[in-house]
């Protein structure tokens, strides 16, 4: 909050406290309630270590499943804010697609309405403070434990305790407030009242960052007749629009997908709000009829408000849920990804740092982004593009043609443009992550950092190789030209084989065993290349000077391939577990690979 604004709020609140004890109680109730929400969020975050990723992947493959996930998680966590933050983070990390994200938002919109039912049904009728005390005691006891899960449980329990205590304080204070000031005197009838109270609802939710808190204030106030039912309806509409601010704030640090999701949340809730404002009288009539069926007394405005809250969000789902695909298309048009001159990281937003698994997955996806750029640079050095890697296209004649036509590629400029920004962002991102207890994630990050280093090394080796390769193009010695073409061809072939390896991982075609072939091919190519160079020198087809340059350059080729393979192994063999244990038993060790290379050589 801006300093001046914060000071004004503090002064206003202090003045309010001086004026009325009841106001002090209400403000304290809201604060305790919000603190409870924070504690609850903190608690649920403790349980997001891998399991959440698995649940998300299994439960979000269809729109209805995503909806169910959103509904259940918002109902359990009693915070649509936390659900939106999680969704934005996972979307930014590429663990979810936009359609699934929108499905979750719909579900959490409905799930969050259960809170209003709890407040209206239980919070105002039962002495909930009695339940708050043991929850707080057990919660704090668990917080002091060493185990991460017990700590998380502690935060959840104490969060619930604070929520109940907040409700109790507010209920009590509103009852005292009734004796001093009657807010109902400020009631505004008609359209003007609807619009003004909707705006108040939006502003209150934005300030408190919780639609639950606004709902609680509204339900408690309406139950003691401090505000009129009509104005309370408008406050609920406002709270539903204002609640989208949490996703908007979370999306500020997210990538374009996160921004699209926040846009969708705002769009859905805003349009539903406008729709309900237009037909508010019909909604009131429907609620009156529904109340009879549900056994809600005509005078029980609090329960009617909870029904309205659910009906409001349900109408939004009926109106917009069937059009998720169209929404995705619209959002993709509204939020267009900018393509800067210097390549920027795609997945490393601040929101990706919220959960250990999003951290690792974001870094992995960003490293794959770096890999694609590294491959681009290496291929362009030899006058090739990625589409040249197709099985029927890549051939020695193609390399010869590319060699003949291409002008020297500026690796330095390309490195600055395509690699440096992303690489530095990855390193900075990894170093910013400070979770100590998450050993699995820490070691994964360390492997990913190594993979990035291998990619940069591969580009550096390509640069060294480029010098003599470019010179060879003007050479009058055909044997030299042939050898350098062979180097370029073998590098391209290796990249092609890594691409095949990626497909094998996707199709689960024994990727671990294919690694042996790639390793053997690298070793075999090196042996063959050196043998060929020695033969050329011996037969005096090339000078010893050219021969020594070729030997150095074949070593660069060997390193490029090795570095690319090491990076690919870390980046693409992620999460392959199916038959990995048995595949490892059949995989060859270094001695076995050496034996095969020698047999091929002697053959």
């Amino acid at each position: 909050m801006h300093k001046a604004l914060l000071l004004t709020v503090i002064l206003l609140l202090s003045y309010g406290f001086w004026l009325s004890d009841a106001f002090k109680g209400i403000a304290a109730g809201v604060s305790i309630f919000l603190f409870g929400m924070l504690s609850l969020e903190q608690g649920f975050k403790a349980f997001t270590g891998g399991a959440l990723e698995r649940i998300l992947q299994r439960t979000t493959d269809t729109s209805w499943k995503s909806f169910g996930f959103g509904f259940l998680s918002a109902t359990l966590m009693q915070s649509s804010g936390l659900v939106s933050v999680i969704t934005v983070s996972f979307l930014s990390a590429g663990l979810l697609d936009l359609a699934a994200g929108i499905g979750i938002i719909f579900g959490s919109n409905l799930g969050t309405t259960t809170g209003a039912w709890l407040i209206a049904g239980l919070g105002l009728k039962v002495n909930i403070a009695a339940y708050a005390m043991p929850l707080l005691v057990f919660g704090v006891l668990c917080i002091f434990q060493r185990s991460k899960k017990l700590k998380g449980t502690g935060y959840v329990l104490s969060g619930l305790g604070f929520l109940l205590l907040g409700i109790h304080y507010m209920k009590d204070s509103f009852e005292h407030f009734e004796n001093t000031i009657n807010l109902a005197n400020y009631a505004m009838p008609g359209v003007k009242g609807l619009l003004i109270y909707t705006a108040i609802g939006i502003i209150a939710t934005i300030i408190m960052q919780s639609s639950h808190a606004t709902m609680l204030l509204t339900i408690t106030a309406v139950s003691v007749h401090q505000i009129t039912y009509d104005n309370a309806l408008a406050l609920v509409i406002g709270a539903n629009i204002g609640t989208t601010v949490t996703a908007i704030i979370a999306s500020l640090g997210a990538n374009i997908q996160g921004k699209r999701l926040a846009g969708s949340h705002l769009l859905i809730n805003l349009l539903t709000g406008i729709f309900v404002l237009f037909f508010v009288k019909d909604f009131v009539a429907i609620i009156d009829k529904l109340s009879i069926y549900l056994g809600i007394a005509a005078t029980d405005k609090a329960m009617k408000l909870a029904t309205f809250h659910s009906l409001f969000n349900l109408s939004g789902i009926i109106l917009f849920f069937p059009f998720i695909r169209q929404q995705v298309m619209l959002l993709e048009k509204m939020f267009i990804e900018k393509r800067p001159n210097i390549f920027q990281p795609k997945y490393l937003g601040a929101s990706a740092m919220d959960f250990p698994e999003t951290v690792v997955e974001s870094v992995r996806l960003e490293s794959i982004h770096l890999y694609e750029n590294a491959i681009y640079i290496i291929l362009r050095t030899f006058g090739l593009y990625k589409y040249d890697l197709q099985t029927n296209v890549l051939s020695m004649p193609l390399i010869e043609r590319s060699n003949h036509n291409s002008i020297e590629y500026d690796i330095d400029a390309s490195y600055e443009k395509r690699i440096k920004g992303i690489y530095s962002a990855i390193i900075a991102f990894i170093s910013q992550v400070g979770f100590t207890g998450q050993m699995t994630q820490s070691s994964k990050l360390s492997w990913l950092r190594e993979a990035n280093k291998h990619l940069v090394e591969a580009i550096k080796d390509t640069k060294h190789l480029q010098k003599n390769w470019s010179r060879s193009r003007t050479s009058s010695n055909q044997a030299t030209i042939n050898e350098y073409n062979k180097i370029a061809y073998q590098i391209a072939l290796h990249i092609q084989q890594i691409e095949n390896f990626r497909h094998e991982i996707e199709n689960n075609e024994l990727p671990l065993l294919s690694l042996d072939t790639l390793k053997a091919a690298i070793r075999n190519d090196d042996v063959q290349m050196n043998y060929a160079i020695e033969t050329l020198i011996r037969e005096q087809k090339i000078t010893p000077q050219t021969g020594s340059s070729l030997i150095n350059d074949s070593a660069y080729m060997h390193n490029i391939k090795k570095n690319l393979l090491k990076a690919a192994e870390t980046l693409f063999l992620h999460g392959t577990d199916g038959n990995a244990r048995i595949e490892r038993q059949l995989a060859l060790n270094d001695a076995e690979i050496n034996d095969i290379v020698q047999t091929v050589d002697t053959k």
Binding site: S395, M396, K486, Y489, Q490, L493, Q497, E509, L510, L513, D516, T517, A520, A521, N524, Q528, N579, I582, E583, Q585, L586, A587, L588, E592, I593, I596, V597, T599, V600, K603
Partner: protein
């Protein structure tokens, strides 16, 4: 049929070690089958290509697959003998 399935599940539950070994053998058989198919595919590709570098690569790949298959078959025999001995 349902009772039989339930019995099978109960049996597997109470005899997890035996079940695990059986599963290991089944998975290994599947991998060996996949390797065999892969070997056929590479042999076919080798016959089709005239490119020297590609031929060399396919030959190496075939050698690797054969050694992997031999290792797999030996492992399968060991597992089967171990199972019989129990």
């Amino acid at each position: 049929m349902k009772i039989e399935k339930l019995f099978h599940k109960l049996h597997a539950f109470f005899d997890t070690d035996r079940h695990r070994k059986k599963q290991h053998i089944e998975e290994l058989k599947k991998i060996l089958l996949k390797l065999k198919k892969k070997e056929r595919k590479i042999t076919h590709a080798l016959q089709q290509t005239n490119d020297d570098s590609l031929r060399e690569h396919y030959q190496t790949e075939l050698k690797i697959i054969r050694v992997q298959r031999v290792k797999g078959i030996e492992l399968l025999q060991q597992l089967k003998e171990h199972k019989k001995a129990e």
